[in-house]
Symmetry: C2
Subunit: 450 residues, 2 copies
């Protein structure tokens, strides 16, 4: 197997252009599949067409399943129909299901009708599992063995099955009814004697996950136990497929993208391949909600209009007070959201976290409060009472905002409410409302009654 | 191997309490290492002390290396010194180095002096690599073979080395000078004939990474090629260690935590185990910076004080205008930061992204602008010109803020500047300044000159 270098890129492209089919085929097929994909992506449409003409649909399946969905859609338009069908027949079932699940239903249905029955059935089964479950991300290409087989027999079988299986490092032991009864790692197999039977060395306590298990929990199992794969079973314990560690890396990235969407109130819109209208549609609901909450700030300031009319100078610190509350709240939010993604929280952990955050808020509040009271006196031209109002308000706002940024995501999590509510923009907007109320209350009290 | 169930938790704890040492030892040691750790964490100090007394330091090493650093520090206080030294001798070198690298230098030095020379040397070597490099996260427990060996010889060797190696699924072929000359997977070995020589079947184009390579790039190699491990070499091509896929999952989580810290302007403080003072120290610099930028907003409003004096009602929309700019900017920021973490950006991609985001901003701007102009007329009691000012300002602010939220992180990335500057709070604060300037400029123009 060869990896991509500038040298072989040049050689392959030159051979394509010179129509030295044998040469470029050999060089291209010798590349690691990932690098076949990387090279293919560099080619202009004309050269790509030469690739389709001289690679079998089976050979091209390896390239196609390595592309992003956006690229797959483009490439599909360049393929002749029978070639595309052949290619789908030769893809891993999970990759083919991913692709057919994303394109429009009619086209997908037509492809499935034209594909080999067995492959089409496998894909149809996978497509029926709900999104983001073990069933939806598993592959059906695993190695199954039986308990009565000997190590020597299994090693012999592996030689034949190795090229097709997604992993051969775990072997799954099933009974006559295809029920999962044990697992054995290739490591254990190598260490065992050749004439030992599988049942003597297999681990009968295999950890498996249900087909309907959430993909994030599947990822957690593989991560916690440092597995390379985990078997997926139905409600009768029948082995349906496996999820491998490389799928888990993809799942973890997907979940991180979701967390980013949630924390920025852009749920489902953190995707570079979306058109403006679609992105706007997904982001608008949150922004409109925030707009209405934001109107509350207008109401609050309106209700203090008497104070504001007398002391217009108070207006100039509105964005500063509101903004700093939002900033520190966002920091606390990030700590909690990340913490929740990484570990389970019990009561002690929650109490300690709240204590820690409030402590942090107090320290930061003192420093920023003193700073701003000094600066604001300079800006406002020696107005000691104003300096005190701004500084003391900022202190109170920072402490309360830390608490809000910590507690709201914890409550959301506890009640399993919509996590996008615990977003930076949401916390910021809530802190605007709370912060301005504190600021104007303190100002009104001090300016009117002193 | 057995996994943790409520049943065996109860049995093990009962056996510990009844001092049935043989029983609980057998049950405990039969658990998967991850579950040994899970069970150990449930035990009270008294029961933990019984564990230390009756597990060898080698057996306990497996438990200790599965704990979080915070827990390791607590446990260390409960161990007798010679037992702790024995345990460190038996840990994987990367785990031992991680632990000793985190505790105070004096204690670490004393441990290293008392440990076995060879182990101590391995750890000392690992400790010398800079943080977050391949060298710092690699393990030295790999299987090395030589090119002239036969498959049968290697399989025989594997039986002996399997228990100690971190992975046996890739074998690394080295020459007399310990230079890496090839890699062979156990999969290839199984498929090959028993009397074939390694040099006939090994892959001489092994992808390796340098000891000083950034851990994030190492993770990317393993992820892109779906490797289970990647070899680490020094500048002479000498094999120094390997990084395995489970380490990569940890790296990816660490990097995500960093991204969360950056996006919330809380770099290095997204860690639940930090005390308030430490967290405040790390978060303060960003907040103070934001405080100073926030003072600009005070200056801007101050410079429009004449307009504001005449039309106090303008003040009530300050937080709404500023806040909405911050909200939409944070959404765009999340899209870009996540995009940059997942893929390489070329010029076309950047241009398309900016176009997409501005398009999204315009759509959202029109909707929110019309909405707010209608509502604000109600709130302000039928003031058509005010409604227009607020609505039109919000439209302009949303479009400009989208652009700022998209372009700033791209610039940061392009110039490799401090990424924490592209944080939600930073974008929000910049958008406050820009948004208020737009709002008051439009208001001053329309109110004074119409």
């Amino acid at each position: 197997m060869v990896y991509l270098t500038e040298d072989n890129i040049a050689r392959i492209i030159k051979a394509i252009d010179n129509e030295e089919i044998f040469t470029w085929r050999e060089l291209f097929l010798d590349l690691h599949p990932t690098d076949q994909v990387n090279l293919f992506k560099m080619l202009e449409p004309d050269r790509r067409r030469i690739i389709y003409r001289h690679l079998s649909s089976e050979e091209f399946a390896d390239v196609f399943q390595g592309l992003e969905f956006r690229e797959q859609k483009e490439v599909l338009l360049e393929l002749e129909y029978p070639y595309a069908v052949g290619m789908l027949n030769n893809m891993y079932s999970d990759d083919a299901a991913d692709f057919l699940g994303e394109i429009d239903d009619l086209t997908a249905k037509k492809f499935l009708e034209n594909m080999d029955d067995e492959e089409a059935q496998d894909i149809q089964d996978l497509l029926e599992y709900p999104d983001e479950t073990a069933g939806a991300i598993m592959t059906t290409e695993y190695v199954a063995v039986e308990a009565h087989e000997t190590v020597a027999e299994v090693l012999e079988k592996l030689r034949a099955e190795a090229p097709d299986a997604e992993t051969i490092y775990y072997l799954y032991v099933i009974d006559n009814n295809e029920k999962l009864v044990g697992v054995i790692s290739l490591r254990d197999l190598i260490v065992a004697g050749l004439d030992q039977r599988i049942k003597e060395i297999m681990n009968t306590n295999a950890i498996s996950v249900s087909v309907l298990k959430d993909q994030e929990e599947v990822a957690k199992v593989i991560k916690d136990y440092n597995f390379l794969a985990v078997p997926v079973v139905d409600s009768h314990g029948i082995l349906m497929g496996i999820v491998t560690v490389d799928d888990v890396i993809d799942v973890l990235e997907e979940e991180t993208t979701e967390d980013f969407g949630d924390i920025s109130a852009a749920r489902g819109a953190v995707d570079l391949d979306m058109v403006s209208m679609e992105a706007a549609k997904r982001r608008l609901p949150w922004l409109v909600l925030l707009l209405f909450i934001g109107m509350i700030t207008a109401g609050i300031i309106g209700s203090f209009q008497e104070t504001l009319g007398k002391f217009t100078i108070l207006a100039i610190f509105i964005p500063l007070i509101a903004g700093m509350g939002g900033n520190i709240g966002t920091q606390s939010l990030a700590v909690v959201v990340r913490g929740l993604a990484l570990e389970k929280f019990d009561r002690t952990r929650v109490v300690n976290l709240i204590k820690r955050e409030v402590g942090t808020g107090i320290i930061i509040g003192v420093v920023c409060g003193v700073l701003v009271s000094l600066i604001s006196q300079v800006v406002a031209g020696g107005h000691p009472i104003l300096g005190f109002i701004v500084g003391f308000s900022l202190f109170c706002v920072l402490v309360v905002s830390t608490l809000i940024g910590t507690v709201i995501p914890l409550i959301i999590h506890y009640f399993k409410l919509d996590p996008a509510v615990a977003s930076g923009p949401f916390i910021t907007t809530v802190n605007d409302v709370v912060g301005l109320t504190i600021y104007f209350s303190i100002a009104t009290m001090l300016l009117n009654y002193l």
